[in-house]
Symmetry: D2
Subunit: 279 residues, 4 copies
Amino acid sequence: MLRGLSHAGLGKIGSDENLIAAASQYGFHTVDINAKGLIERNGLEGAKALLAKHEVAIGSIGLSVEWRDSEEKFREGLSKLAEEAAAAAALGCTRCCTYVLPATNFKAAHFTVLATRRLRTCAQILGAYGISLGLEFVGPHHLRTAWANPFLWTLEETLDWIAAIGEPNVGLLFDAYHWYTNGSTIADIEALTPDQIVHVHINDAPDLPVEEVRDNGRLYPGEGVIDLAGFLRALNAIGYKGSVTQEILTAEPPAQSPEELLARSKAGFDRVYTAAGLA
Amino acid sequence: MLRGLSHAGLGKIGSDENLIAAASQYGFHTVDINAKGLIERNGLEGAKALLAKHEVAIGSIGLSVEWRDSEEKFREGLSKLAEEAAAAAALGCTRCCTYVLPATNFKAAHFTVLATRRLRTCAQILGAYGISLGLEFVGPHHLRTAWANPFLWTLEETLDWIAAIGEPNVGLLFDAYHWYTNGSTIADIEALTPDQIVHVHINDAPDLPVEEVRDNGRLYPGEGVIDLAGFLRALNAIGYKGSVTQEILTAEPPAQSPEELLARSKAGFDRVYTAAGLA
Amino acid sequence: MLRGLSHAGLGKIGSDENLIAAASQYGFHTVDINAKGLIERNGLEGAKALLAKHEVAIGSIGLSVEWRDSEEKFREGLSKLAEEAAAAAALGCTRCCTYVLPATNFKAAHFTVLATRRLRTCAQILGAYGISLGLEFVGPHHLRTAWANPFLWTLEETLDWIAAIGEPNVGLLFDAYHWYTNGSTIADIEALTPDQIVHVHINDAPDLPVEEVRDNGRLYPGEGVIDLAGFLRALNAIGYKGSVTQEILTAEPPAQSPEELLARSKAGFDRVYTAAGLA
Amino acid sequence: MLRGLSHAGLGKIGSDENLIAAASQYGFHTVDINAKGLIERNGLEGAKALLAKHEVAIGSIGLSVEWRDSEEKFREGLSKLAEEAAAAAALGCTRCCTYVLPATNFKAAHFTVLATRRLRTCAQILGAYGISLGLEFVGPHHLRTAWANPFLWTLEETLDWIAAIGEPNVGLLFDAYHWYTNGSTIADIEALTPDQIVHVHINDAPDLPVEEVRDNGRLYPGEGVIDLAGFLRALNAIGYKGSVTQEILTAEPPAQSPEELLARSKAGFDRVYTAAGLA
């Protein structure tokens, strides 16, 4: 499984170009960046050359379409999606991800219906470019009541939603933090097939009662209490071969320099990959 | 638009065979019955002959699949659906309908996801036999709180759901009572296209505040306060050519004989069709 | 049914703006133009005002995506489609059409598979903007052998293809010339429902054996041998309410001035609409 | 990867019950049988007990629906499919397969359209029971001209068809004989993901020019010239974990007894699994 970096957790790392160089320097294989932006600034050949030079691939782009709000906003975003997908495909990226908040101010059933149709359309457009769509269920308990009505947050609910969306190229963004805060198990991972997983996030949780763990209270891999060795072992055992990308959301910006944070990230990956027998 | 009868509102009318004969006698064109049962009792040729002799067609069959409960029950029903669809198709019936309760004891978002997937599968099987699936939204206000969590009940929500289901052969069962209790307008009908309407129910409502109208407090067409002339005129104007089928749900069984109820039904249809300029 | 004009048959009519003004002047209700171009030249509000001032709507835009060639070309076109659909939707246009040549140099089965998937993707993107996709089967016999392998050209085949594409917003572009050269009948039209027809083309054919009629040998409505009165009557009878748009393809550019051609077109429409009892 | 047996190649092995017992005795893990028949003869609990006792699972059932002929026959088969799928699911089987002849007497494009829609419907019904549909492309050259018009036979064409069918649960039945006769390579396997492969057939080919290899001229694994070690290694490398099931089609029934054929089959599997480093 590939080691991946995102901007989240690296402080003032700066541009996507910086992230690419840093990832390479610290032994990571993929970065989660904006493919279209990279091409706009460097040209297609320049962007390809930059990735090739650093031997880094794009793990996933983010879904920029706003599917949680008005139909008008949804349509506005949609007309950009094909271009973003074309850019990602041109750089060899095959994944695009979005997160799913566990509650909504809209009426839940109606919101579900609208979101199902909108994400299907996104998946259809992405699919035309060979790109899969990953849906990230979100586990921290405090978010379940942060908006008026409960939405979907468990693994099972999200798999059911993926079946309702009904496109072959939709799967999970499987995040260790949400797996942990949902109280899921190693057996839950072992029951998955690799094609159900589009992308993986890794991070760690503080030693608190699981109900009190905050979404922006994340730690670096190996610094907390999540069984990341078991998490990685199970993903590897079912045949997942994609990226495992660090995403550290914190209440305050990290105090360390990007270099220190990169070294800390690398050390965290080394620790948990070694513990999983994958180093 | 064809005049249709269902069992609901005709008291002890008895078998589907009785309903067919009665419909014919009182000038109705279609009946909502169990096509498979008719064939089982009369043979395919016998069932065809019976309908032909009385010059009556089948308006719609009911969806027997239980899509609101466990996956196990859903699958059990599914294996019968193809046979029921085959029977309906063999008798020239092209519609199958189910109703949608406006609340659920399941978590709303998860229930929506499951129901979307299950009704899509039903529509796909029906579609293989040239049959459309009509979804009946249910308007009476008291039902919105009869179960723990609100589901879908408005015209707009139901159309959005149909889009989320995403099959070409899914549309509305458009019931005058639910249109009225939702506070919908003639303009709402005029904004529809005929292919969005799979089937129509007709009935009337007592002169009560709309919030107090009960689902099982229905009157015969022309005996209440719903603008059925406008309802029919609008359906005709948009090009709807299917059945308009009486469905009278009451708290107590009707006191009159089937003959009296048939005569009353015919008189009701005459009145509102005439008022709509369609007689 | 609305009277519509396209550029085809009006000689050097010039810009879409000219076509809009001319359509209005000669009593037509719709024009087939490039919605995105109109907005680029006039701004969204300017384009809306122009159409409103002339009381003309857009009948259909053309599908610019190249779905008949390489995957690369297909994808290139796709990234523009959402913008074109957004432009059309912003101007109230709900239809987009493409034609289907009756033969192909690709292996027929493989081409069918690719075209099915590509047109589905186009329909899905268009559907997100409330736009239907019309497929125009092409009847003239000489085209059936103009490429190496036979493809689809009959009404039945095209309806079967639409079912295989499987999206709710795909239907026919029904062209009188192709209906005629296929030897189809009034009964074939009467067997359709209006939602199966996205758009209609009208034109006439010379008095030749039908096998010899050339695709670019078209006459103005009422100047040839096609039973256009029956064609229009049947479309109206089934409830079609969209545009009937003139499309005259000729081997040589017409010798008359645009004004003469517009007058001739109007006279043709008057003749056949009157003959159909629709004037 | 599981070792699987089918009836094909075992002579007068007799009933599915016999095949189950024989598979167990000779170290095979799965059998391709008729799940519904097994339940009809043994009851659900009896069928489960029989499989459990022999520690044998069902690899795949065959698709009994006739999707290559008239719509009438297709619909007849369809009404049985849900029951067959329910039976398979009840016994833990998650795969159903059908073969694709490389030519057809129907017009190729129209046949493609019909077959696409019909197989999609089959996949949708199977999907409701958690079952995948595997399509077996057929490589022997003589069959490409055995009917009037060429259809689909390459790996690439079949993958494109699967995309056109568009359901998440459709993939390949990947047969070593068809891979070989198509002239495909190890790299072609390595380019697949395991979710693209529903089922695998294994068998061997005589030392003839590949154009002359007959569909019913198959040899037991390891007795011919196919690089089955490379075939198995590549399937294992991409993460395929399903059955590899023997299917030996021959012009004449095998002369050996079932016991000899079972021993020969086991020896063949031992040889090629060992050569692949998988024993």
